[in-house]
Symmetry: C2
Subunit: 364 residues, 2 copies
């Protein structure tokens, strides 16, 4: 025990020394040098379809179809160059502009991932990449030509996340049985129960309800269960017995941990909708209330009650009429609205609340 104390004191001294040097390592101190990758999930919604920018790499496509998603696709990303960019977010904005031609409006840092083995498929010992994920919203849908960046519907990567027409068939027919099987493969009784409990909570089986915000939890579960392509790619030895599975198993894959970052982005955006007026970043200047509702539904993946949605908008003072109407809607013309930017000064948490967790609206 005395030796342990001594050890502690020594290690502490090391760290304090690190601190006193101003937290700065000299350039030739390789031991802690790490490359930082900035990753952006850039989201737009067009025609009730949430889209995300994806960089395609034509050289190494596994499918012949140039439009089909491919496991060499990924989010736009690039390195953080401290010498040129004062802050992380400025670095991100700069090269997103260069790469896609988009000028980012709303951006938000999501999470910093540093797992080894999520990036490098072959467990090498090359310098680690720590990736910082960002969410960015835009209402532009034009990408600079001459790039390999394209918009892709985000539900292509997460087909189980779109509940707008009720529970996706995929869940009952594929996910439910495979997760049941995975639960039974746990070594002991407690582990089996734990796995199944988790599956229920994630996907709303049995007594649990679907929670549209748990996008990341669901993806991580599928990853651990070896049901997404990336799991088999990263840890082929663990999933050797599942080699017969259809490829891509569930949803379209992405390089590295990009699908995980996209999952984080989706979950965060779905949550943020409810207490911040972020939807309007995805809308044109003027819109009908139904268009706004459809955008919210597209992102959250669930249907919401029309009249109550309007009531909340009114009470929150989130929108104001422009006086004009749109006749493109089919039936009675809809009044056009604009976002009332003033609410940002007035109310503390002006979101577009979704139904909390009660039963959901049936699809139309």
């Amino acid at each position: 025990m005395p030796s342990r104390r001594k050890q502690q004191a020594k290690d502490t001294a090391t760290v304090i020394d690190f601190a006193q040097r101003g937290a700065v390592h000299t350039a030739d101190d390789h031991s802690t040098a790490v490359t930082i990758g900035l990753n952006a999930a850039i989201v737009a919604v067009s025609d009730e379809v949430p889209q995300v920018t994806v960089v395609r790499r034509p050289g190494e496509r596994s499918s012949g179809d140039a439009d089909a998603p491919d496991d060499s696709d990924g989010l736009p990303f690039g390195p953080f160059e401290p010498a040129q960019h004062r802050t992380l977010e400025l670095g991100l904005r700069t090269w997103v502009d260069e790469q896609t031609g988009l000028t980012l409006g709303y951006t938000e840092q999501l999470y910093t991932f540093g797992d080894r083995g999520r990036h490098a498929a072959d467990g090498d010992h090359s310098p680690q990449v720590v990736s910082i994920g960002y969410l960015a919203l835009t209402d532009e849908t034009d990408l600079a030509s001459g790039t390999d960046t394209v918009w892709q519907p985000w539900y292509q990567y997460f087909p189980w996340e779109d509940w707008r027409s009720g529970e996706p068939d995929l869940i009952r027919s594929v996910i439910h049985p495979l997760l049941k099987k995975w639960s039974k493969e746990a070594p002991d009784r407690a582990g089996q129960r734990q796995r199944w409990d988790r599956a229920c909570q994630c996907f709303g089986f049995e007594t649990s309800r679907w929670d549209e915000e748990k996008v990341l939890e669901r993806y991580e579960l599928l990853y651990e269960a070896g049901l997404v392509f990336e799991a088999q790619r990263d840890r082929p030895h663990l999933h050797a017995d599942k080699i017969d599975m259809v490829r891509p198993p569930l949803g379209a894959p992405m390089i590295h941990d990009h699908r995980r970052i996209l999952a984080t982005a989706m979950g965060r955006l779905r949550g943020k909708l409810k207490y911040r007026p972020v939807v309007f970043e995805l809308m044109p200047a003027a819109f009908t209330l139904l268009e706004l509702q459809r955008t919210v539904e597209a992102i959250s993946g669930v249907r919401i009650h029309k009249q109550n949605f309007r009531r909340l908008l009114e009470k929150g003072g989130l929108v104001e009429s422009t006086g004009e109407v749109s006749t493109k809607t089919g039936g009675r013309p809809a009044a056009l609205f604009r976002f009332r930017r003033e609410v940002l000064r007035e109310r503390p948490a002006p979101g577009v609340k979704l139904p909390s967790r009660g039963p959901r609206i049936k699809s139309p």
Copy 2:
């Protein structure tokens, strides 16, 4: 315009090349090498006082008093060593144990900060440190001896955040007038209004209400207004005219951006309380309901309604009686409760809800 397009395509190609190399730079590629610092705000609550572990550096103290907070104090932190730690969180846990003797239970990543100038006081060009902040909770209050780590009350660093006995005098007497002054110093009319609106929203002036979660927003505002020590330390040229101000101006300072990380931790914890049962990480195995309430109040900094608090606990099934009672309370003996871990499997968001944003309870 054509040249712009060409430029874009070229830059894109560069990034794609980066991507195709597997997002891995060779060891001698110094341009993007960055040191990653892992920072932990480790929180415990004892006797209704939220405490945070602070590392003191005796060598360079500005005050003679060894117990007084000092601008050479900071959160425990250390470098991320990719070679030794598989994930960021494992790295954090390892050296927090070594440094403080604490074994972290609940931990949560907060945010990744990368601002130059927040770390390096003298705007040097040494390699950048990107710091990843973590929040960790514990119910142990023993620190390993032989270290320079001590517990400090967190309201020492944020005296304006404790509203348990009503609005702190500091706000009306110091913060309000100084922010008013700062608002008037804006170059134009719109800027003045913008500054004051922000101050009102942050501190609940005029029509706004106090929102206990906006800890970071408030600290950032005070930083920008030059009212905290760190602002004057980092950018002395901007605050030359305020040289006469008392030092430390508002709250105790910390090294680097550690007070910002602590602010992030406080805000996140205050928010998390409401929808996750994290308080119990700070409680002993058995506790009375008032002890639990006092802990919630200590963290959130506001008083809550006793009977309603109990009603929520019951309805949520968060606790169960142990059958025993505690007579240490003064009046009628209080039943002892324990946390019902099962709720984690049952309910989706079992938090300890605080009053949302209505008027608050008067202090007792």
